[in-house]
Every structure is written in C-alpha cells, then in structure tokens.
C-alpha cells in the first residue's frame, strides 16, 4: 500500500482528495451550473432559492451565501469549482485569494507585486520550516 503523505502538515492548505470530492460533490456541481448564463441570472435573482434546488448541507449553503471560500473548502468545495461563483460575481482569482488570506484585495495585490508569499516558514507545521 502507498501511504498517503501528511497533507495536514502543510500550513493553510486543503488537498482535494477523493473523499473531499464526495463530501463536496453537490456543492461543486452547483458551482458548475453557473457556467450557463440562464443559471447565473436565476442565482443572482434569488441566491437562496437557487441554492435550495440543490441537495447541499446548510453549512455549504451558508458558505456560498457569505462568499466564505475557506468555509466552502472545509465543506468539500474545490477552488476551480468555486471559481464559477466569484466569476458570476465579476471577481477574479486574486480577489478570492485575498478573501481566503484575510487580506484586503489591495494588500494582497501589493504582496504579489513584491514577489508573493515566501515559502519560508510555510512548508511544514511540524518541522517549522
């Protein structure tokens, strides 16, 4: 058997495994429905009503309504699927990344212009490197 690496040891990172894919199946499928303009229009008109058409958990719906992407990932969401929500909002990957790092979009953009987040101290929790 091949041991699964200790992904929990990577700071601030969620690895999208087959188990998470199961957990987030309906959440991610809902996201993909937003690739159709008519579905985007219906979602924008009444987000709650559109979400209620999908068999999502209350926590998943709350994460979507709050645009809390860290919470959505904790509930099985994957960023490439969640991208359909922020694309519908007219937002970019950088805006969503700022959301998940707790930074303002301006501060996040500034960090990226200065070379991004260093891997120093961000590789391993246990090894502190």
């Amino acid at each position: 058997m091949v041991e699964r690496p200790d992904f929990e040891d990577i700071p601030g990172t969620t690895v999208f495994t087959a188990q998470r894919s199961r957990q987030g199946f309906h959440l991610n499928q809902f996201c993909m429905s937003l690739m159709k303009p008519q579905n985007r229009a219906r979602f924008k008109a009444d987000e709650r009503a559109y979400l209620d058409e999908w068999p999502l958990t209350e926590a998943q719906k709350a994460a979507v309504l709050a645009r809390d992407y860290n919470a959505a990932i904790a509930e099985g969401g994957n960023i490439y699927f969640l991208a359909k929500i922020f694309a519908t909002d007219g937002k970019s990957f950088a805006d969503a990344a700022a959301n998940m790092t707790g930074m303002t979009p301006e501060a996040y953009r500034e960090m990226m212009l200065h070379g991004g987040r260093s891997p120093e101290g961000n590789r391993s929790i246990k090894e502190g490197r």
């Binding site: 990577i10 894919s21 970019s92 990344a97 790092t101 707790g102 996040y108 260093s118």
Partner: protein, 279 residues
Amino acid sequence: MARITAGVTTSHVPAIGVAIDRGETTTDYWAPLFAGYEWSRKWMAENLPDVVVLVYNDHASNFSLEVIPTFAIGCAESYQVADEGFGPRPVPEVPGHADLSCHLAEQLILEEFDLTVVNRLDVDHGLTVPLSLLFGQPEVWPVRVVPIAVNVVQYPQPTGRRCYELGKAIGRAVTSFPEDLNVQVWGTGGMSHQLQGPRAGLINPAFDNAFLDRIIDDPEGLTHIAHLEYLREAGSEGVELIMWLIMRGALGERVTPLHRFYHVPASNTAVGHLVLEAG
C-alpha cells in the same frame, strides 16, 4: 512522417486571457509579462507547426466531478471555448486534427497508457491562454490542436514519472503517423502558485528556476519530485508542472533551449516560459 520539431512550456493564468481580451497588454502591470513572449511570437510565426499537441488541464469546465479522467485525449474536429462563469473568451473555436488524435489514442492505449477518449470537449483558459500568448488575436487559429487533458484538480494527480513516460510514448506515436506533419508539443500550467486557503499567494522562485534548469537537461531527475514536495514548495496548484514533463518526454533525450522567461506575478502566479528545439 510526422516529426516533433519543438516544445513550448508556458503558464496558463486566466487573468492573462482577460488582459488580452480587454486590450490591456501594454499597461504597467502587464507589459513586462507580454514582453517575455515577444521573441516567441516572432519565432512561432517563422516556425509555424501544422499541429500542436497541447498538454493542459481542465479547470472544472468540461469535466465535472461526475467523471475525472487522469489522462484524456480530444479526438474531435474542433473544440468549443468554454463559458467559465463570465461568458466564453472571445477567441476562435479551436481546430482539431482528428486523424492524428485517433492515431495517438490507438498507439498510446496499445502502449498501455489508458487515455480516456473524448469526442466532445469544451476547452478553457488552460488551453486557450497559451494559444493567445503565442499567436495573439487571429481570426482563426493558425494551427490544429490535439488536446491532452491531465487531471491536476483532484488528488492523486498522475506522478511526474508517469507523465514523463507518457510524453516519451507520445513522441513515439507522433513519429509513426504516416502524414508529413510538423508537430510541436506544449506543456502548460505552473509555475509556483496557490489559489486556495490562508497560504494563497505562495511563490517560490528558487524552486521554479531550478525546475526551468532541470526540465532542459535533467528531466529524469525531476520525475522524482513527489506530490508532497510540489505542494510544499510550489503551492497547491504548482503540481500543474507535471504537465511540463509530458512535453519534455515527447521531445527526446536532447533539447536546445531557444528562449527562457520567468516573471512574477501574473495575478497569483509565477509565470515560466520556455521554447525548446528538439535535438
């Protein structure tokens, strides 16, 4: 006989496509990025291949969570541009080369690389942004494309070694195609970037530059990089770099680097770009 003449690697950041589509390529933010592709666009115009075997990943555009093929090959006459949530990019549909695709599918599966055959495939920024970077904004794309889609979204992604070996098999399969075709192989995605969670924005120039060095003259060594190391060093989305190994495997033992470019940032991502001549 078909022959592989060159390889290209490039990141495929969606924001680059947006900048091109909105005519923002000369802004202070974007000009340095596009300057790094100027040489390549001129070279490409003078060395236009008939077909590009374009290795990319779908970003939840064509493949939902219903079916997740590890490796897939498009075998269609043409590929429509996906609507990723803000309408399709205003770029031409992508012409395929169905005969070469079918030949590759047959040869690769008989060589025990069990690719999923896809007869209808909508392509997203992973495939169209590299075309825009190398060809600009033509009315019609000047090449035909054989798309090879790799799962990098859900763990486990294929190993770097498997990708490199698949690339070698693609090299053999292309050269056994009877028609006289000039073929390039492109490997897209990367370099270091993380789009999710509190660690988003991770960039690792040391890792990236070593990868650029080694993809040229030590691709075998790169096949030993495990998933965990990509995740730690290059960010959760940096694992896309395994797709460069498919390109490199297809080019054969020796390559001559013609152009190299590295730039930070394009949105959240470190951009790396190489043009490699086969032999």
